[in-house]
């Protein structure tokens, strides 16, 4: 890869901070709504991992692509998704990103390069490689980054896809968010190596492990991987070590984890860290507070929008199964 990149300035940090704050606020509100039964189904919270998604997406252009996971709110918002449309989707409303058809695990905004959260663990990985293949064929210069978890790295799709991507030098990045757990299962109980990035050796590609609570560290690692990919050198693994503050799903008490996991994670909170860094860079506390309020207002508005939006019309339940001949295909 390239030489060590320069460090990020205040402007950069303000942007990163805002995106992380947006994710945190969005999810805090969503969790609140979920616990009050305003939200149905299941949500998987990204809280604590914000620096990973934001650091990674800060290294991408608007014209680049991502695929995401069941824990996708953070990735989508980091890539620029609108909090109101996302919130409305969580509420299952007609105004949501997917008109309420998809819900929390299926947020997509192709215009913004968000090829989708995904409810199937490991399924986004080959989709991302397909996007990278399309870029290679079209020669459009775009890079695709696929987010997935430590747990997902044990799916066959990981191996199959990374092997093809490495061989075909696809312009993509494999971003493993290692929060140490797949639901209740600690990663070292189900794998035999210290890090997951070492698997890069099996495909003869670069692999690094970085502190995923440090938005700048993530940014630099992903930036290098993106440049590598954009230069036609193929994919890399970037593994970010992060902490999942909540249980696996909202409401999971996570009794299977030692207490230290959470205290350790909270002591490294990515947003606290970024705030400290902003102060260090000379940004006034009042400016940061104003940013916090701006984000809080945005999320409040998103909530109001979502809550007041109409439900889908049940009579339209058969729409959108097919692009053409829909009526005939769903009739029989």
């Amino acid at each position: 890869m390239k030489q060590e990149p320069r460090s990020c300035n205040a402007k950069w940090y303000l942007e990163a901070y805002e995106r992380m704050a947006r994710i945190r606020d969005f999810e805090s509100r969503a969790a609140e709504c979920f616990m009050k039964s305003e939200l149905a189904g299941n949500i998987h919270l990204y809280m604590g991992q914000e620096a990973s998604g934001v650091g990674a997406c800060m290294a991408l252009k608007d014209t680049d692509f991502i695929t995401s996971t069941h824990r996708g709110h953070g990735h989508c918002l980091a890539k620029g998704a609108r909090s109101d449309l996302a919130m409305a989707e969580l509420f299952g409303k007609e105004t949501g990103y997917c008109k309420g058809r998809g819900g929390s695990m299926h947020i997509v905004d192709v215009e913004l390069g968000i090829l989708g959260a995904n409810g199937i663990v490991g399924a986004g990985i080959p989709l991302a490689a397909g996007s990278a293949l399309a870029s290679k064929i079209k020669d459009d210069g775009a890079v695709t980054l696929t987010f997935f978890g430590d747990g997902a790295s044990n799916q066959g799709t990981f191996h199959e896809t990374i092997n093809m991507a490495a061989t075909w030098k696809l312009p993509m990045v494999f971003l493993i968010e290692n929060n140490h757990y797949g639901v209740s299962t600690e990663i070292h109980r189900i794998t035999n190596t210290d890090t997951l990035a070492v698997r890069a050796a099996a495909y003869n590609i670069p692999g690094v492990t970085v502190d995923g609570t440090d938005v700048e560290a993530v940014y630099h690692a992903v930036d290098a991987a993106v440049e590598h990919a954009r230069a036609g050198e193929g994919p890399s693994i970037v593994e970010t070590l992060v902490y999942r503050y909540q249980g696996h799903y909202c409401g999971d008490p996570a009794n299977y984890r030692p207490k230290e996991y959470l205290s350790e994670g909270k002591s490294k909170d990515p947003i606290d860290k970024a705030r400290a860094k902003l102060l260090e860079l000379g940004v006034a506390e009042t400016e940061i507070d104003a940013l916090d309020r701006k984000v809080a207002d945005e999320i409040e508005a998103a909530y109001t929008f979502a809550k007041n939006s109409p439900n889908p019309d049940p009579a339209r339940v058969t729409d959108y199964v097919y692009s053409s001949d829909n009526e005939r295909c769903v009739l029989r």
């Binding site: 189904g41 309420g100 819900g103 409810g119 199937i120 639901v183 049940p314 009579a315 339940v317 058969t318």
Partner: protein
């Protein structure tokens, strides 16, 4: 004694593990967590981590491992966290477990149970809400069980574990919390016996899993209008208890099949075809079907409720069949 369906399933697993040391459990989060539906809590401490195995998220691998272990004489019980994930592990089920006995000319037995929660209604959206029993019934070599009550779930799961063939055992997520009576002491319900959950004379409702409850609700509604419905809980789809189906059809002369899964290619199609071809002269009306729509499971509650059958749909289906 009243216990939940999930507890009944846990009891079946526990009793069989205690009875037979060749029974092992494999799946995601089955050990330390004791399963995401709390079905195997405490099992790991009691039976050891050799017999209650937390797997990585590698369904194809660990399902294949279970099949290999079954060929070597163990009786693995595999759990897929949702039946929707059969998409990532169909090969060890369909091309291996189901076929090995036949392809080896009877040399091999594959006593493995594949358990999975299934079903809609929890607003889990397109990839976590399907009832896929029809897919499994189309695969020769598999037995397919879909219990409704706690008592049935327990007795059938014990039979499935003791069976020498691969059995797909599908549990409806929205039944887990149901509290019901189960018999005292040890009992087993043989695979392939339907259960008439409500006797009636005007129309036969063939169903299984969660829809049994909806059918019973519908039957009460129908009773108010003077229609006496018989609700047959098939319990096992393969082998099918044709004798019970036939007896009911020959009594009522009108049938509807009610299933939560997708209509097109559903189990109802097969039942309709068989009943029509073999009992044509017994039928006063064509076999009706009430099933999930031919769509993807929607997230939005209002859409999801419109997608799979509810008691009112069954009432309407019966009336349509009876021309009332």
């Amino acid at each position: 004694m009243k216990i939940t369906v999930s507890k009944a399933i846990g009891q079946a697993l526990h009793e069989e593990m205690a009875r037979d040391s060749s029974v092992i459990i494999l799946g995601e989060d089955m050990g330390v967590m004791g399963n995401v539906f709390a079905i195997t809590q405490g099992f790991r401490d009691e039976f050891g981590e050799n017999r209650v195995i937390d797997t990585p998220i590698s369904e194809s691998g660990f399902t294949g491992i279970a099949v290999g272990a079954a060929m070597r004489g163990l009786r693995p019980v595999v759990e897929w966290m949702y039946d929707d994930f059969i998409t990532v592990c169909l090969d060890p089920v369909m091309n291996q477990a189901a076929k090995l006995r036949y392809m080896t000319g009877g040399q091999v037995k594959v006593p493995v149970v594949f358990r999975a929660p299934m079903g809609a209604g929890r607003r889990n959206a397109g990839q976590h809400s399907q009832c896929l029993e029809a897919l499994f019934t189309h695969i020769p070599g598999l037995k397919v069980v879909c219990p409704s009550t706690a008592a049935d779930a327990k007795g059938l799961l014990k039979a499935a574990i003791r069976d020498d063939d691969p059995v797909v055992f599908l549990e409806h997520k929205l039944l887990y919390a149901k509290k019901e009576d189960i018999p005292d002491g040890e009992y087993v319900i043989p695979l392939g016996q339907a259960d008439v959950k409500r006797a009636g004379k005007d129309v036969t409702i063939l169903t299984w899993s969660r829809q049994v409850y909806f059918a019973l609700e519908a039957a009460e509604e129908l009773a108010k209008e003077g229609i006496d419905a018989e609700v047959v809980d098939l319990r096992t789809l393969v082998p099918l208890d044709w004798e019970t189906v036939k007896a009911s059809v020959c009594k009522t002369h009108n049938v509807i099949v009610v299933e939560e899964g997708v209509l097109r290619g559903g189990v109802g199609a097969e039942l309709s075809a068989q009943i029509t071809s073999e009992l044509f002269d017994e039928l006063d009306s064509p076999v009706g079907r009430v099933a999930g729509l031919n769509v993807v499971s929607p997230f939005s509650p209002v859409l999801e409720d419109a997608e799979f059958p509810h008691p009112a749909d069954i009432v309407a289906g019966v009336k349509k069949t009876l021309g009332r």
